[in-house]
């Protein structure tokens, strides 16, 4: 058996090993491959950037469940870092019961990084059930939907919420969504009240929402880990997204190299033996 045949029948565990190495190594040795920023991400970045500091707050709705943490957590952190680094106030909430702890964790950790104080620089509203009702309700009176924050403080006693009545006082609302919640924001907040909505979604969902960008229903869109990496690139604070991108790039190329090598071996050995050993696909 020639070298080519051997390569054709390579034990797939070598492939597994290569993938494992490609994922783990960038954790220790970040390569920092440059990330090209795409328009939907830049649009969202600009929209956040345009919010004046210490005034009307950016709203972030953490609408994802634990299963999509690897894709959506990095985005949430990057947007929060951007806001806090520019002293933009933040109000966080969630429409997904599973998102309650995730929102809190992200908000508290980034706030600590930038020395921000709760109820002065940011507010956490917590979870309210009933997606459409909450989104619509916020159009008339936010304090009607969320009378108190997640820790029981009435919103009327939080100075930074003074004068924040409805979407008119929200310069931008970003939903980090692992489900169709994003459509609720577009249909019930953008359409009737003209709220400006941005979104972060999983890579698989991203294609479904590109059309919303053309129509202006979404201000900007972050898709999957790549979207997070681009945002991290823009705020010059590389983290899980960029690190993940290194792994992603390496693995994507690795798979392509494997395919090419496999084909060379396949044709080389076919010429020699004139018969295919592989079952047809």
């Amino acid at each position: 058996m020639g070298l080519l045949e051997k390569f054709l029948q390579i034990d797939r565990r070598w492939i597994f090993l290569a993938i494992a190495i490609a994922v783990v190594v960038p954790f220790f040795l970040p390569m920092g491959l440059p990330v090209v920023v795409t328009k939907p991400v830049r649009d969202l970045y600009n929209a956040v950037d345009a919010i004046p500091p210490n005034s009307e707050p950016l709203f972030i709705s953490v609408d994802y469940a634990p299963s999509t943490i690897p894709e959506l957590d990095p985005m949430t952190l990057a947007v929060l870092r951007h806001a806090f680094s520019k002293d933009i106030r933040v109000v966080a909430l969630t429409l997904d019961p599973a998102g309650y702890g995730l929102a809190e964790r992200a908000l508290e950790s980034v706030a600590r990084e930038y020395g921000k104080e709760r109820n002065k620089d940011y507010v956490y509203l917590g979870f309210q059930p009933g997606i459409a009702a909450v989104v619509l309700g916020m159009g008339t009176d936010i304090k009607g939907v969320f009378p108190e924050d997640a820790y029981g403080t009435p919103l009327s006693e939080i100075p930074m919420m003074d004068g924040i009545r409805n979407y008119d006082q929200i310069p931008l609302l970003i939903t980090m969504a692992s489900s169709g919640v994003i459509e609720a924001w577009v249909i019930y907040a953008h359409q009737p009240y003209g709220a400006r909505i941005g979104a972060g979604v999983t890579a698989v969902m991203a294609t479904d929402y590109y059309p919303f960008l053309d129509t202006g229903q979404l201000v900007g869109l972050l898709g999957g880990m790549r979207g997070a990496a681009e945002y991290e690139e823009l705020i010059k604070h590389p983290d899980a997204g960029v690190r993940g991108m290194d792994s992603q790039s390496v693995i994507h190329v690795l798979i392509i190299v494997l395919i090419v090598l496999g084909n060379i071996a396949y044709f080389g050995s076919k010429k020699r033996s004139q018969e295919a050993k592989e079952p047809a696909a």
Binding site: R12, T140, P279, A280, A281
Partner: protein, 397 residues
């Protein structure tokens, strides 16, 4: 077209309100500091919600702005809408809308009841004199007209299916082209027999109400008859309790029909787990430890598809897959020996059994495709001539 009616309504309201705006200059503006109640609203009307398809629980109330909203004292904050059961009766507030709004949709009425509506402008301190209108009644509808196209095409489709079924029952020779993946099912079972190893049949992870699961059970019945004859063990792991009990019935029956009821082993029809990846892990375990020589994955699959196909490849089993879940087809196509794509899964049961009922459905579906293409082509041709309403007719909700 449906979307036109609110526009027409709006135009009407604007036309009606216009004189009021014109008359605005004639009312003397109240002196500053004077806390007079705002002027009342005008031209109040209420009617059964225009959309033909509601359930009679909505009434739409419209009015023209109070003279003090926008003009005049400009101090109107909101409008309060009250509903009562008789003229002049004090009603309960059913909604408030901010200044500048000229309509309100009351979504909480009892169909068939007569109601009166009051609307008053409110400036933060006092309310205007209410304007009243009524009686108005919400009517229930028995047919959602916007869904008519669905009904028409479904009826046409069913008529075709039933006609072809009747034809097939009378013995008409209905041609169905060969589906390559199908013969592979029988080959795979044959090979497992030669090797003296079991056949693994996964009917997907869909619930029994998923039609793909039903189609899969039909094919399972066919496969079970072959394995019964060959005395090849047939392992059926399931992710749903009800599918498990249905699979038990199907396989037991097939073994009885094939004349080998004794070969049926209830321990081979197994419920593993409702949880997607617990199920996937356990099926992989079966592949590695019981070494089936033929793996058939027919039904509704999600992300676990590739986990099965790759583990099965490692155990060198012949693999035939079929699903209508489009997102998983790429993985089955790349990793399995044969794949039934989408509708081929449904066609498979017809092709295998040659039963009139299944052939009738297949033929009906085929001609429905022709009708669909026809509608599409007609829509395209008409759009060339600038007629776009045709495609719009299919916009249903």
């Amino acid at each position: 077209m449906r979307t036109h009616s609110p526009l027409v309504g709006l135009a009407l309201i604007l036309a009606l309100c216009a004189p009021v705006f014109g008359a605005e200059g004639e009312t003397a503006p109240p002196a500053p500091g004077e806390n007079a109640p705002p002027d009342p609203v005008t031209l109040l009307s209420a009617r059964d919600y225009l959309d033909n398809n509601d359930n009679g629980d909505k009434i739409e109330v419209t009015w023209c702005l109070s003279a003090d909203d926008g003009g005049g004292a400009g101090d109107v904050l909101e409008y309060r809408i009250r509903r009562s059961s008789g003229p002049g009766v004090a009603g309960e507030v059913v909604g408030t809308v901010p200044a500048g709004t000229t309509s309100f949709l009351d979504e909480g009425v009892e169909p068939g009841e007569a109601y009166y509506y009051d609307v008053a402008a409110f400036d933060g301190g006092s309310e205007s004199a209410p304007a009243e209108t009524g009686p108005v009644t919400g009517r229930r509808n028995f047919f959602q007209t916007s869904r008519l196209p669905v009904l028409v095409l479904a009826a046409l489709f069913f008529a075709m299916v039933l006609t072809f079924t009747r034809l097939a029952q009378r013995g008409a020779n209905l041609f169905v082209r060969r589906i390559p993946g199908l013969t592979a099912v029988e080959e795979a079972v044959g090979r497992a027999t030669e090797m003296g190893r079991p056949v693994l049949y996964v009917p997907g992870i869909g619930e029994i109400d998923d039609i793909q699961t039903i189609a899969s059970l039909t094919i399972l019945s066919h496969v079970a008859k072959i394995t019964a004859e060959y005395e090849t063990p047939l392992i059926v792991p399931t992710a749903r309790s009800v599918v498990m009990s249905a699979a038990e019935e199907v396989v037991k029956e097939a073994y009885a029909e094939a004349g080998h009821p004794d070969n049926y082993s209830p321990d081979n029809i197994r419920y593993l787990s409702d949880a997607q990846f617990a199920f996937a892990g356990a099926v992989s375990g079966i592949m590695l430890r019981e070494r089936p020589a033929a793996n058939l994955y027919l039904g509704a699959f999600w992300a676990e598809s590739l986990l099965f196909a790759e583990t099965g490849f490692e155990t060198k089993a012949i693999q035939v897959a079929g699903t209508a879940n489009v997102s998983q087809l790429p993985f089955f196509v790349t990793a399995c020996d044969y794949t039934l794509i989408g509708e081929e899964l449904y066609a498979a049961s017809a092709y295998l059994s040659k039963e009139p009922k299944l052939l009738g459905s297949l033929k009906g579906s085929d001609w429905m495709k022709v009708v669909s293409i026809g509608i599409m082509v007609l829509g395209i041709v008409l759009s060339l001539f600038g007629v776009t309403g045709f495609a719009g007719w299919f916009f249903t909700q």
